[in-house]
Amino acid sequence: MISYLRADFPLLNRHIDNTPVNYMDSAAATLKPKRVLDSEIHYATEYASNIHRGKNSLSNEASYAYESARHTIAQWIKADLDLVVMMPNTSYALATIAFGLELTKNDYVLCVRNNHHSNLIPWIRHAKVVYVDQDPLEPIDLDAVIHAIKKYKPKLFSFTWVSNVNGVISSAEMLCKIAKEYNVISLVDAAQAAAHVPIDVSQINCDFLVFSGHKILGPNGTGVLYGRREFLEKFEPLVIGGGSVNHVSFNQFTLKEAPYKFEAGTQNISGVIGLGEAIKYLTEIGFKKIIEHENTLKQAMLEAFKDIKNAKILTTKNPKDSISLISVIPTINMHSDILCQILSDSYKIMTRSGFHCVHPLFSYLNIINGAVRFSPYIYNTVEEICSAGKALKKILG
């Protein structure tokens, strides 16, 4: 149990109607520990200057803190420093890759039916999307991927490491290995994975990996794009401007090297510094403890939610294949939004409802009223899971 961490999260002191908030919406945004918030405040109150282009001492301090955060992130995912590009979020990172790959409508992009919209729409816009033929609630099937690659000869295989709908984990390493064998570019959407599994891009051997800061205890408006050197060197940035160029004349410009050419304009400096602090915090806890605690929460959820009569639980066949994330679909005449509101207002349990930015998956599964997602994290307790189970039973029977 790592529940002692609860004291680090100021939001957990929030009470509504004299009842403490039970926060289970971490798949949308994790809570931020105090030291992350403090690091942002420290930037704003102590040096606050813009980075890189200034020579005043405060600017140097800001640049140092910003680049230190990049260093922390690079170390965390085992990447070279210059291959770590700071982004506003995962969606922005994916759009940057889609632009850089110069895809055409003659190119196939292989996806899985559980891809988040952000990992689908850019490919629909630029190329032809084809899907791995398999149950989208289960880990990505290696044979099905090989079959699809042989059939479509895609340029890119872009998949979700951990699903944001049912938490299913796929083998990123094996999937990238297959892609490599068939000369297909691999892209790992690690938005949901980053907080739950250790990332080692050299071991995964992916061409791209992207994630957001706000899902790993970091500030909103931060994200990371890791790219293999050969791609980042030749990629055109999606946005260009101040900070991304070496020289500009009246009619020409030359871009900086990666990662700076992708970081045009003033960056979310305090956010990146906060993200670095969040990663230090997670590193100090260690994934061994995080995974152990999550397994406890997952077992508690499966136990607490198992006898709910009028609900379908979206999970994997083998619970070992998922993180501590479960979606509940009311099978009575109740929209998931209403269930989410009741949980919030009557029980102070904060969940997320709707279609979770995976509309095609819900259409495929013929789920019309959406699902309520419970995504506890390191600060949640088994008692909170039990309360959620009791609340669901009260409401759904």
Binding site: D337, D345, S346, K394
Partner: protein
């Protein structure tokens, strides 16, 4: 067999059916129905049919409704009995009241004034107990939801305002004989109603709001939810065109609207030269309707009736404005109290509204609904004259304490009136020495700040007021607009 003797004499709209040895007779022209459960002699049946207007073909439909309304009244127990019956029922069937049986003991109530012995219910009680204790034991929530007989209504609002309430799916929004209340032809069924309000008016509907016409039609009632907007002060022509198309297609008897959202739509339509379709009746509710909004609505939709419908998610039958301009309490559905710290308010004194519901699934007893009102003390001369009349003052949390008096949205609005140059205003108290009035003038007009200054001086030293001319207001978390607001805490629960 006796009944067959009357068949030729019955009005054409009267039909009957035999269900489980009970004969049900229904007047499709008025919606009135009776059940014949005993054996009647010819004379008795003749008398009954005459009293309910089933046989007299010479009477006008309004006269028939009058007769039928008298039967309703005759069969409705006195208010004290209804309250005692309700308490008896809920202290036997609803866990919340069973646990608090001593507090809600019907024996405590020997007269209406004894009601004050019962505790108040608050929004927090619904939030905390709705799904644990406030559903009657004989109600199967899951089954009701599955079958569609029960729904969960969700209110909009900020965190401490929001709640969800279990309710019947089919509740007649209007009382029997509303033709005479609204002075429009409704007939024997609930009228087709098109709703135009905030996009968050109800969690049940918000996900319907952006979808196709067919999906915005209610499955349970003859209602259409018109597409709304998150930016009422920046309405686009497409929304107005869709509004017009939907109204033309649906042909509602009533357009039920948030008055400020509708005023925004009218203003923008006028700017764009788009003519709005007519509807027989317009009811406004969902938030306080200021005089300028009502003026614009009446001008845009003239000559239809423009009437107030005071409702809430917790009980949507609170008060209805009749065509004579009186806001009648729905005595058929609720017992209505207006209270201040001295107790029951006499006519003319503003107080907090507390309601006790007679037939809602989630029972509410002395429930402080969060609004302020006053009894008028006058008797309306419409057909619903036995329903007492009130003036609605807006939300209690918006009341401002000035010069040892609580000032309501109604007070401010009455003071400001509806000068031709004024479309919208928002009056905000920041602290006791700092106020602001934001004004959106009518199209092509200039704000007359001296007029505002003079009018508000009744309440506030004009030097303490900041005057701001603007072209939009930010909606509240509930997406309502809020004409009068205070940033100070401590607005009264009961003034």
């Amino acid at each position: 067999m006796v009944l067959l003797m009357f068949i030729d004499n019955l009005r054409k709209s009267v039909c009957f059916s035999n269900l489980d040895n009970v004969i049900q007779m229904n007047d499709s022209e008025t919606g009135f129905s009776i059940e014949l459960t005993e054996k009647y002699s010819t004379a008795k049946l003749q008398d009954l049919f005459e009293r309910v207007g089933f046989v007299d073909k010479q009477l006008t439909i309004a006269q028939i409704r009058k007769k039928q309304r008298a039967i309703f009244k005759e069969n409705t127990p006195p208010i004290l009995n209804r309250l005692k019956e309700r308490l008896l029922q809920i202290t036997e069937e609803v866990p919340f009241f069973i646990k608090r049986k001593n507090d809600y003991d019907p024996k405590k109530i020997a007269s209406i004034t004894d009601l004050k012995k019962l505790p108040f219910m608050r929004k927090v009680d619904i939030r905390n107990y709705q799904f644990n204790e406030l559903i009657p034991k004989n109600i199967d929530l899951s089954l009701g939801l599955k079958e569609g007989s029960i729904t969960i209504v969700s209110t909009s609002g900020s965190t401490d305002d929001r709640l969800q309430i279990v309710s019947q799916t089919q509740i007649d929004r209007l009382p029997f004989g509303s033709d005479d209340l609204l002075n429009i032809a409704i007939g024997g069924k609930q009228p087709k109603t098109a709703f135009f309000t905030t996009p968050l008016c109800s969690g049940n509907f918000c996900h319907l709001e952006n979808t196709a016409y067919e999906k915005r039609l209610s499955k349970n009632s003859p209602d259409l939810y018109l597409k709304s907007t998150v930016d009422p002060f920046g309405i686009q022509p497409e929304l107005i065109n869709l509004f017009c198309e939907d109204i033309e297609k649906f042909k509602p008897t009533i357009l039920a609207a948030n008055p400020i959202y509708l005023q925004c739509l009218i203003r923008r339509a006028s700017e764009l030269g788009i003519k709005l379709p007519k509807v027989p009746c317009l009811q406004y509710g969902f938030e306080f309707g200021h005089q300028a909004a009502i003026r614009d609505i009446k001008n845009a939709f003239f000559p239809i009736s423009t009437l107030n419908d005071y409702a809430a998610s917790e009980e949507n039958r609170l008060a209805l404005e009749c065509y004579r301009g009186s806001l009648h309490v729905r005595s058929d559905a609720v017992h209505f109290e207006i209270l201040n710290t001295d107790g029951e308010c006499p006519p003319g004194v503003v107080g907090a509204v507390a309601i006790t519901t007679f037939d809602s699934i989630t029972p509410l007893v002395r429930y402080l609904i969060g609004d302020a009102a006053e009894w008028t003390g006058t008797k309306c001369d419409c057909e619903f004259s036995d329903w007492p009349t009130i003036i609605l003052h807006g939300r209690l949390k918006d009341m401002i304490y000035i010069n040892d008096k609580w000032v309501s949205t109604f007070h401010i609005d009455s003071t400001l009136g509806a000068p031709t140059w004024l479309d919208f205003y928002r009056f905000i108290e920041y602290d006791k020495n700092s106020y602001e009035i934001k004004i959106i003038p009518a199209l092509g007009c200039t704000a007359d700040l001296s007029e505002i200054e003079a009018k508000l001086s009744k309440y506030v030293d004009p030097k303490k007021i900041q005057y701001t001319i603007t072209n939009r207001f930010d909606p509240l978390p509930s997406m309502k607009i809020g004409l009068v607001q205070t940033r100070l805490s401590g607005a009264p629960e009961i003034p």
